[in-house]
């Protein structure tokens, strides 16, 4: 199983990039898509129906933890629910992490979720995690070894700063990524020098694409073919050849 994570500052287009990577990878194998952004948009962009999130079942378990029959243990309950909320689509399954944690204790439930999600991911050729910049889900709810982290920037200084911070955080988390790439997205005047100064490996450009913008504007799934999809195809080939 080859795992990718996509991260970056909000608004740079990481969800669109995740979706394009997922679409591209379904041509090569079966993909597990994980939407780890609390503001979950990946299902809409992919056109996938979702019946629940890991956050929902996590809260449900904490609410009813003492009402489950004593011998109906929580690991089995949680595994079943995780399988139930997994959205099954053509070529990929999608798991949505959903809302952030509340004030309760999540030690037990996160420990169980790590095992369930790690085991689940072993069933796929590829895993793609659409991750928020804090990388919280990667550190707390899964120990999937992510080989390639792709950070998106849109040319703004803030997006480069976020990229550098993600790299530092990743180093602190114990360098679980083999490569950390930077991708420049939808910039009109790409400044590759600044991209290289972030310390991340610059992977390439995804041009501004009016078809993508239109799909996002209308809130419909991304088009099957697009200029952006073609460049994601090339970037992925670069990653997979390494």
């Amino acid at each position: 199983m080859h795992a990718f994570a996509v991260s970056g500052k909000g608004g740079t287009g990481k969800t669109v990039l995740s979706a394009l990577i997922i679409r591209e990878l379904t041509k090569k194998g079966v993909v597990l898509a994980i939407d780890a952004d609390a503001d979950s948009n990946l299902p809409d962009v992919l056109g996938a129906e979702v019946e629940g999130t890991v956050g929902d079942i996590r809260e449900e378990l904490l609410q009813k933890k003492c009402k489950l029959p004593p011998e109906y243990t929580k690991d089995v309950w949680l595994e079943g629910k995780t399988y139930e909320i997994l959205s099954e689509n053509n070529g990929f399954d999608l798991l949505v992490m959903g809302r952030p944690e509340g004030p309760e204790c999540y030690c037990m439930v996160n420990n169980l979720l790590r095992r369930i999600i790690d085991m689940l991911s072993q069933n796929y050729d590829y895993t793609v995690i659409d991750s928020e910049a804090g990388l919280e889900h990667i550190s707390r709810r899964t120990t999937i070894g992510v080989q390639d982290m792709v950070v998106v920037a849109d040319g703004s200084q803030q997006s480069f700063d976020t990229a550098s911070r993600i790299k530092n955080l990743a180093d602190e988390l114990g360098a679980r990524f083999d490569h950390i790439y930077l991708v420049l997205n939808k910039t009109k005047t790409p400044d590759i020098k600044r991209a290289e100064m972030t310390g991340l490996t610059f992977l390439g450009l995804i041009p501004y694409d009016p078809d993508i913008e239109k799909a996002c504007y209308n809130g419909v799934p991304l088009p099957e073919h697009s200029k952006a999809a073609a460049s994601v195809h090339e970037l992925l080939e670069k990653i997979l050849q390494r």
Partner: protein, 445 residues
């Protein structure tokens, strides 16, 4: 086995998810109203060892992509097979059926959800008889106490529905027995060190009468987790000897806590908040705190944002209580622990509880002895310690009986000779004094 077994069996297939695209049929699951799995212990002569029955349509007669009702009934016999083991054996259906290549089993009891893969079906896995053979082989290999075993599968609603309804009653009876399980009934407890990242010297001792502080892991969860990953954060504790039946001190728990706290703590008294109480991580659902002024115990839960009767909010109490320290008079607990028959038993149990927020008082009303319910104060009655004292006196709360034992020295005028050299020669005169003391020493000069 007459024919060669069509698919592989092995632990490697555990966790195998069969995707909708690769699915031959689905058995049970949320979209099918009736399904169940059940283990029943029988007398030796009631079982035909190795018999597999398929009642209803077999796999090969099912439509591709179809969903069907499903029952797995496992009947076992053996000299050591007892009724109480049925649930433990039943749990293994999940493990063992998942060992079969191309068979997915999720959930348990009335929720089971299975899938058979197209690939395994094509390889010849086209009858439930194969599943039965695999289960029988694994059950006998892994659980040698099973001397005889027979398995029945059902796939028609007319059979599955009445079976599932009847099974529900069996599960409920089993739950009632499980809820009544006490520390005295078992030989093993479980430990948990999930919170050591916050509280490195803390470890939870989880027993039938004592759920983890976070309220998330009961004795059954501990047992399940320890079996899946014995070297993981949940592990078995040999109960050992009960050293003190009043303080509930067990050699096994002492050994565990000494080891897991790296020598920081050496003893736990299980059901008390004094002496050598259990430690607290940071994840507890509620805090029990001793109120010396009334010799009683107050309780405050995490979501209560006001001040407690001792003038501080939950957050302040939590800083004091957490971190794996053994602290006389402060203890993190799970709300469910209040339902335990051993709830602070050493300290007097509910007879010692004097104050708690209305929200949890109502939540655990079923556990509070009826005659005590109105004697326990809430924030609506008071958050002032003097008023609490008055309230307890008026309601004749059982803690007031402890008060008479307290030494009260009352005098209109009292001469006190300070003991310290620094005060030599001075005299202290207290007028209209009432002095409360745990101990009064009067020495002849």
């Amino acid at each position: 086995m007459a024919k060669e077994f069509p698919v592989e069996i092995g632990v490697v297939y555990e966790g195998e998810r069969i995707r909708k695209d690769n699915m031959r049929v689905e058995l049970g699951g949320t979209k099918v109203p009736y399904k169940a799995e059940l283990v029943q212990s029988r007398a030796m002569d009631e079982i035909e060892d190795g018999k597999i029955t398929v009642k209803g349509r077999d796999l090969k007669d099912m439509e591709e992509g179809g969903r069907y009702p499903f029952v797995i009934l496992v009947e076992v016999a053996g000299k050591e097979v007892e009724k109480d083991l049925e649930a433990v054996i039943e749990r293994r259906i999940h493990d063992f059926s998942n060992y079969v290549e191309g068979f997915m089993h999720v959930n348990q009891r009335y929720d089971i959800w299975c899938r058979v893969s197209k690939k395994s079906f094509q390889k010849g896995f086209d009858s439930f008889t194969y599943l039965g053979q695999a289960l029988i082989k694994l059950f006998k290999a892994e659980l040698p106490i099973i001397e005889k075993i027979q398995i029945t599968f059902m796939t028609e609603e007319e059979d599955v529905k009445p079976f599932a309804e009847n099974a529900r009653e069996i599960y409920e009876a089993r739950d009632a027995r499980a809820r009544a399980l006490s520390d005295d009934d078992v030989d093993e407890f479980y430990g948990c060190v999930l919170c050591q990242s916050f509280a490195p010297t803390h470890a939870c001792a989880i027993t039938p009468d004592r759920i983890s502080l976070c309220g998330a892991i009961n004795w059954f969860d501990g047992r399940a987790a320890a079996r899946v990953d014995p070297k993981g954060p949940n592990f078995k504790i040999e109960k050992g000897e009960l050293i003190d039946p009043e303080k509930f001190e067990y050699t096994g728990i002492n050994k565990m806590i000494k080891e897991k706290s790296l020598g920081e703590n050496e003893r736990f008294w299980l059901h008390t908040m004094f002496g050598y109480p259990h430690t607290s991580c940071g994840c507890f659902e509620a805090i029990a705190f001793f109120i010396p002024e009334v010799d009683g115990i107050g309780i405050c839960h995490r979501n209560y944002h006001g001040e407690t009767v001792i003038g501080v909010p939950f957050s302040t109490l939590a800083t004091q209580t957490g971190g794996g320290k053994q602290l006389d008079g402060f203890l993190g607990i799970a709300i469910e622990y209040m339902r335990s028959p051993k709830f602070f038993k050493t300290d007097g149990g509910w007879n010692r509880i004097v104050w708690m927020p209305k929200f949890i008082k109502e939540q655990v009303q079923d556990a509070i002895p009826e005659e005590l319910y109105d004697k326990i104060a809430t924030e609506e009655i008071t958050t002032d310690i003097n008023e609490l004292k008055q309230f307890l006196e008026e309601k004749e709360h059982p803690v007031t009986e402890r008060w008479v034992e307290e030494a009260v020295l009352a005098a209109e005028e009292l001469e006190v000779i300070p003991m310290s050299e620094a005060f030599a020669g001075t005299r202290l005169i207290l007028k209209n004094a009432r002095i409360h003391a745990d101990k009064v020493i009067i020495r002849r000069r």
